[in-house]
Symmetry: C2
Subunit: 176 residues, 2 copies
Amino acid sequence: MEENKQEIIDEKDEAQNEESEQTVVEETDELEQLRQEKEEINNRLLRLQADYDNFRRRTQKEKEADRKYRSQSLVEELIPALDNFERALQVEVDGDAAKNFADGMKMVYDQFKAALEKEGVEEIPAKGEEFDPHMHQAIMQVEDENYESNIVVEELQKGYRLKDRVIRPSMVKVNQ
Amino acid sequence: MEENKQEIIDEKDEAQNEESEQTVVEETDELEQLRQEKEEINNRLLRLQADYDNFRRRTQKEKEADRKYRSQSLVEELIPALDNFERALQVEVDGDAAKNFADGMKMVYDQFKAALEKEGVEEIPAKGEEFDPHMHQAIMQVEDENYESNIVVEELQKGYRLKDRVIRPSMVKVNQ
């Protein structure tokens, strides 16, 4: 009788265990799936955050560079006019009236130069400087005992830079 | 005997059910928590995505505006020099040499104007135009039968705009 009872209980147990295991296995599967999904979304979140941060940093840098060199295209347009202004001012004039006119024009020229300088435009130093291929374009080589080797002896056309960027290199004669 | 057996089985069942329920409840709690966490991360992901998109759009717009008006600060600096250039050119000169000099300067002036125009700088039309408070600054009011009411009869100082932005309004006399 005891044995019989135990048998019955065992049978019942087995059936119930199976059912219960079934449930637990299903729940565990779902848990596992959810954990994976959560992990995946979390990774996407982290990647997106990193992308966003990079984009912000890059944008900030671009903005600063854009701002720093914002005048470049207008400066490039103005430089040939400035060349002609200088050339025109070199003409000698006679008579008081013409001299006054020329003085007035020299003042206008200075005002233009001052406006450009305020925006960061500078003439590139040339004559007497050591030849620098980043800033000087050598048009001619000469042999001049008065200068040391590799020194700019004459500037043929002014060069300009905008802050640290060369807009137009100086055209120069260099001592061999 | 049958009853007795059933009782024993029921007892055993109850104990087992309790244990099984305990597990299921724990797993369900964890499932629920995971679902909530997943939902939360997902919401953060969506918000971040929306923020990022907004930031990108705003940055793009700012970039376009920066680009459009990039020359503004240099233009503002150059306008007073341009005023003086015009004033200086209005002086009458005598003699061929001085006239040649003045012609050369007029060409330089035209070149400056062309460089500025290429960057989008325009003179604001004034004389004969209807008075527009966005572009014209009325310095004087006059009564002139030759003009209709609210028409600019004289320009006292040129105004300039950079594309659609007024950099300096024209100073004008307006007919009452």
